[in-house]
Amino acid sequence: MTIGLNDYITLSVILFALGFLGVLLRKNTLVIYMCLELMLVASTLALVAFSRFHGMLDGNVFVFFILTVAAAEVAVGLAIIVALFRRRQTVQVDELNALRD
């Protein structure tokens, strides 16, 4: 059995959907953050698969940019989460509701 482009794209869409649902449904900020990273990784997987099957390298190069951006996002994001935990002693989304109507 050979693994074709469709299998990669299907896997990537499943990963993306898992991440998306995780962001919407989970309550712990850190788990939500991991789900966001999962969505980025799903895009990366599809990008590499497309790049391989198109016979072009530009998709692979884009992956490096995505990794860099994701690293910057994690650095800032975790700093915000840590600072918030120091102030509020919680990272549960349903307890972080001081801003609302």
Binding site: I9, F16, G19, F20, V23, T29, I32, Y33, L36, M39, L40, A42, S43, A46, L47, F50, S51, H54, G55, M56, D58, G59, V61, F62, F65, I66, V69, A72, E73, V76, G77, I80, I81, A83, L84, R87, R88, L96, A98, L99, R100, D101
Partner: protein
């Protein structure tokens, strides 16, 4: 890959073409260097360097306005210079300058490091300029992420205030979610455009170049993969401009963020989103039958939601946030009308100018009226503003009047231009919704004006206690000059806009 190929690729890197972006980023770095080099008691002068530097850049940009307008591709097709790009450069530089000025006022009330604030504001502004001039999805994504990550830091900048941090977290989760959707859309478009079976002749510029994407969509307008990609990319941009159904972050983040950053989000981030949307609308033009219904539903829902939700607000930051959502809706109508007549874009650009001028007048007043906790700004804090601070009240009335679209002011002309474009494009349903939205908006804008100008009855303060109310920051002369200029600009642009509109139309 041989040497001559590398040389020809490098010959396309015209660094001088990145005139305001590169010096702006260097100026931002210079601020950090100054903080290390200068002794501590001279740190007060660093914001002055930031503001004067940006002023000098603005003058240099305006002097050289024509020079940067020739249409050309640089950096191997990553960046496309155009008159529109030049317009947005001026817009973002003015935004950055005004945010820095408001930042000085707001930071004076906080015990916070100062320099990084100006540094990040300038870096984000430079990234916005690159975003609206990008001609390649890699450039687009990287510039957009620079803007977004910078805003995560800025929104949660007052990190001793839990509300600022909470707003930062909400913006982080929503922003990262929208970036991931945008990225997946880009990947799907790449998958469709780069497919060798669909473009047998091969692509000259690579599958992520905007020209290639447009060429592919012309040949295959109903490719399923590409259509899903288009919807995902548009969703990502809709997050940035705060259009329904991606507006849920707007009121919370605007309320929690420091007031100058709220202004930056409301004006800069929204203008950058619209700059990107205008570029993408051109790229996706072959798929009109998909893009127009998506944008139309968004525009109608955005106007209605923004105006109806703003009616019930008492916190002025939430009020201005939700009214900002409705302004995004009016601008979306302009973008849709541009599909029928490209001249409608000049209406969008004029609206952005009028919105910038009026918003910064209002945010400038908000910065001065606010106390130390910037999330807590209620309508009742504005009581008696006209008696105690007639200057601030006058600026506020002009700014709010312009936002509401009262005839002699700039906001009215902006709305008029967009509505006329929508009328000649035959968008009657959207036009009806927009007019209804304007009528609703007058109610809450005038509620705010009433709170500021007419004194409400209050319990007399018990003897021996100072009168209630927030300690309002006195207006220093730079802020006075800025706010006065903004108020005058709103009036002047409303009465006399001949050369400006001529220039916008001539592009």
């Amino acid at each position: 890959m041989n040497l001559s190929l590398l040389q020809s690729a490098a010959a396309d890197n015209r660094w001088a073409a990145l005139f305001p972006e590169l010096p702006l980023a260097l100026l931002a770095l210079l601020l950090l260097v100054l903080e290390i080099v200068l002794p501590k008691r001279q740190h007060r002068s660093i914001p002055v360097v930031a503001i004067l530097g940006q002023l000098a850049l603005l003058v240099a940009l305006l002097v050289n306005l024509r020079g940067g307008m020739t249409e050309q591709l640089t950096f191997n097709g990553l960046i496309r210079h155009s008159p529109t790009g030049q317009f947005f450069r001026v817009l973002f530089l003015v935004t950055s300058l005004l945010v820095s000025l408001l930042g000085v006022v707001s930071l004076a009330r906080q015990r916070m490091p100062r320099v990084e604030f100006f540094h990040i504001v300038m870096i984000v502004s430079a990234a916005m300029m690159l975003l609206v001039q990008s001609h390649h999805f890699v450039m687009f994504f990287v510039a957009l992420e620079t803007v977004t990550v910078g805003f995560y830091i800025l929104v949660s900048y007052y990190r001793t205030n839990p509300l600022s941090l909470e707003a930062g977290l909400k913006y982080l989760v929503m922003g990262a979610l929208s970036s991931a959707m945008l990225l997946f859309g880009i990947v799907l478009l790449y998958g469709a455009v780069g497919n060798p079976a669909l473009a047998p002749s091969g692509l000259a510029a690579g599958a992520m170049d905007f020209a290639s994407v447009r060429q592919f969509l012309l040949a295959h307008p109903d490719n399923f993969l590409a259509q899903v990609g288009i919807v995902l990319v548009l969703s990502g941009v809709a997050f940035k401009i705060g259009a329904v159904p991606f507006q849920i972050w707007v009121p919370d983040v605007y309320q929690g963020a420091p007031t100058p950053i709220t202004a930056f989000l409301a004006v800069g981030s929204k203008a950058a989103g619209f700059g990107a949307l205008v570029v993408l609308a051109g790229v996706f033009a072959p798929c009109k039958s998909l893009v127009i219904p998506v944008l139309s539903v968004m525009a109608g829902a955005t106007i209605l939601f923004g105006n109806l939700a703003a009616l019930t607000q008492y916190n002025v930051k939430r009020l201005i946030a939700l009214s900002g959502v409705s302004h995004a809706g009016y601008l979306l109508i302009g973008v849709i009308a541009a599909y029928y007549d490209p001249a409608a874009l000049s209406g969008v650009y004029f609206y952005l100018i009028a919105y910038l001028v009026a918003s910064f007048a209002v945010f400038g007043v908000m910065t001065h009226v606010s106390g130390e906790n910037e999330a807590d700004q209620e309508l009742e804090h504005y009581a008696d503003l006209a008696r105690t601070h007639p200057f601030l009240a006058l600026v506020l009335v002009i700014g709010l009047g312009s936002l509401a679209g009262i005839p002699p002011l700039a906001g009215f002309i902006g709305k008029l231009m967009i509505f006329l474009a929508a009328f000649s494009a035959g968008l009657y349903v959207l036009l009806g919704i927009a007019v209804l939205g304007v009528v609703i908006s007058i109610y809450y804008y005038f509620g705010w004006i009433k709170a500021a100008c007419f004194s409400a009855w209050r319990l007399p303060a018990p003897a021996g206690e100072a009168a209630a109310g927030l300690p309002r920051t006195p207006v220093a002369w730079p802020a006075r000059v800025t706010l006065g200029t903004l108020a005058v600009a709103s009036v002047v642009l409303g009465l006399w806009q001949g050369p400006l509109i001529g220039w916008l139309l001539a592009r």
